[in-house]
């Protein structure tokens, strides 16, 4: 913000809101990394840490909501201030949701570990890596108020969807080949779906940053790349 408010405590409140969002974003990033790490290392302990750490995201979301409502009630914010507060409210709930997905992945680690010989498909890791980078970049875009950067992230969800589509087919094949793999494959599929959803949520964050900077609401015209709802694999076919 180029100019300060006449009332300096107002600036401080907005600054707090911004840094809380940044902190939530950082935590959400760490959670993705942690969940995937637990998955590949087959570490129940690591998974437990991720589940525990989700509480911090929930607490931050509530704190942000409380602060934002308080500012709305007391300051009657206008223009960029209003957009700042509305954006913080929306971003905090999206980030909390992203945290929930990481937590859900972590929760599945124990079940997947039951199957000793099951190999975790690398694609899940690749997807998570992409989403984590998208999240990092969208947070940078938020902090720098950079709508162009936000739009760049917005467009990077398609590769995540592509990976998910191929993973979906791959896991279906495994399950058809070996019925014992159904349990771990299903869990892994859910984990992958969670990552795919995180990617969608990151694009929402990008849209919010776009609105914050430009004051225009982006119509959601992003093509949806997840085609698995229509995917059918038939046994005994090539």
């Amino acid at each position: 913000m180029p100019n300060d408010h006449i009332v300096t405590s107002y600036d401080k409140e907005l600054e707090n809101l911004r840094s809380s969002i940044a902190r939530m974003g950082g935590l959400a990033e760490t959670q993705i990394a942690g969940a995937v790490d637990a998955l590949f290392k087959r570490s129940a302990e690591r998974a437990e840490q991720v589940v525990e750490a989700d509480k911090a995201l929930d607490d931050l979301e509530i704190a942000i909501e409380r602060d934002a409502i308080s500012i709305l009630a007391r300051r009657q914010p206008m223009a960029s201030d209003l957009r700042e507060i509305v954006s913080a409210l929306k971003m905090s709930s999206v980030l909390e949701r992203i945290g929930d997905y990481s937590k859900n992945i972590a929760k599945r680690v124990t079940a997947i570990n039951e199957s000793d010989n099951f190999r975790i498909v690398r694609t899940v890791g690749d997807m998570a890596h992409l989403v984590q980078k998208m999240l990092k970049d969208v947070l940078d875009a938020y902090i720098d108020q950079d709508a162009v950067k936000a739009m760049d992230v917005w467009e990077r969800d398609a590769p995540v969807d592509e990976l998910y589509n191929s993973l979906f087919r791959e896991l279906l094949t495994y399950m058809m080949e070996d019925a014992r793999s159904i349990t771990p494959c299903t869990h892994l599929l859910f984990a992958a779906k969670n990552v795919e959803r995180m990617g969608d949520h990151v694009t929402n964050l990008a849209e919010i940053v776009f609105y914050l900077v430009n004051g225009e609401i982006l119509e959601d015209t992003r093509p949806k790349g997840d085609r698995t709802s229509f995917t059918v694999l038939r046994p005994n076919e090539d």
């Binding site: 180029p2 100019n3 408010h5 006449i6 009332v7 009657q76 206008m78 223009a79």
Partner: protein
């Protein structure tokens, strides 16, 4: 600032039954002696719309408002140049009857200023001197409709002979609005009409402004940004005698184009 462009768009809108232009003002300058209070303001005022004029003290918004019914004529040192057309007629033309003009363009002031007369007389006075009604029954009807339109009738119908000054502040302001309406104006100018009122009286007046919009063009000067945002459809931001930005109220308050507007409405003005 793109008043010229927006006014073109608005004139196009007339064809679609949208609000029509009531006032066209171009290059309006006002001088108080040597001091230039307004530096070439161009703005259109549309029918059936509330136009809010906002800006810091001394920015010229009240001065501009007072040009619209030639209230500045009462200030000796004031000199107005530029063109101010009401329905296409230059209101500063020598042939224009100022008394008639002020009946067409009514005004409500910051402090409620009822005449020290009965409620009835406060409203009936204008129609009487303008010869709008001669028979008592006609006058009664005008008083009743005006008080009803001003949302005051139910509160005073049984005591029309009470002194107007005996009413509460909010009621007095609505009485002044009734008085302005009584002479069938086309435009109502309001100079901070709620700044002396409590929140409930303010809400009543704002509700009234929204109803009056159906029949009049309304221009309101206000220091309350929230009030401008609540009651108006168009907002013009004045600063140092100029219009910095003018546009749809929603746009001005969520996404102003000019940094100075942003700074003012968000409380960053140094």
């Amino acid at each position: 600032m793109d008043t010229r462009q927006s006014s073109l768009a608005e004139r196009h809108a007339v064809a679609d039954g949208q609000p029509q232009v009531k006032f066209v003002t171009r290059g309006v300058h006002v001088y108080y002696g040597e001091k230039e209070a307004i530096k070439g303001v161009s703005l259109d005022i549309l029918n059936n719309e509330v136009t809010a004029l906002i800006g810091p003290s001394g920015c010229g918004k009240s001065t501009y408002l007072r040009c619209l019914n030639r209230m500045n004529d009462t200030v000796d040192s004031a000199r107005v140049t530029g063109s101010i057309l009401l329905d296409g007629t230059d209101i500063y033309d020598k042939k224009v009857d100022v008394v008639q003009l002020r009946a067409r363009v009514g005004m409500v002031f910051q402090k409620p200023n009822p005449f020290p007369k009965s409620i009835y007389e406060n409203v009936a006075y204008g129609p009487k001197i303008h010869g709008l009604a001669t028979k008592k029954a006609d006058l009664d009807a005008i008083v009743e409709t005006s008080l009803k339109k001003a949302g005051l009738w139910n509160e005073v119908s049984d005591r029309l002979e009470t002194q107007g000054t005996a009413l509460s502040g909010g009621q007095q302001q609505r009485l002044c609005i009734a008085r302005a309406i009584a002479v069938s104006p086309e435009v109502i100018l309001m100079d901070e009409p709620c700044s002396a009122l409590d929140p409930i009286a303010t809400a009543r007046v704002e509700e009234l402004i929204d109803e009056l919009r159906e029949n009049y063009a309304i221009v309101i000067v206000t220091h309350s940004m929230q009030q401008a945002a609540r009651v108006s459809q168009k907002t013009a931001f004045f600063h140092l005698g100029d219009i910095v930005e003018h546009g749809k109220t929603e746009q001005i308050f969520t996404n102003p184009r000019e940094e100075r507007t942003r700074d003012y409405i968000t409380g960053r003005f140094g």
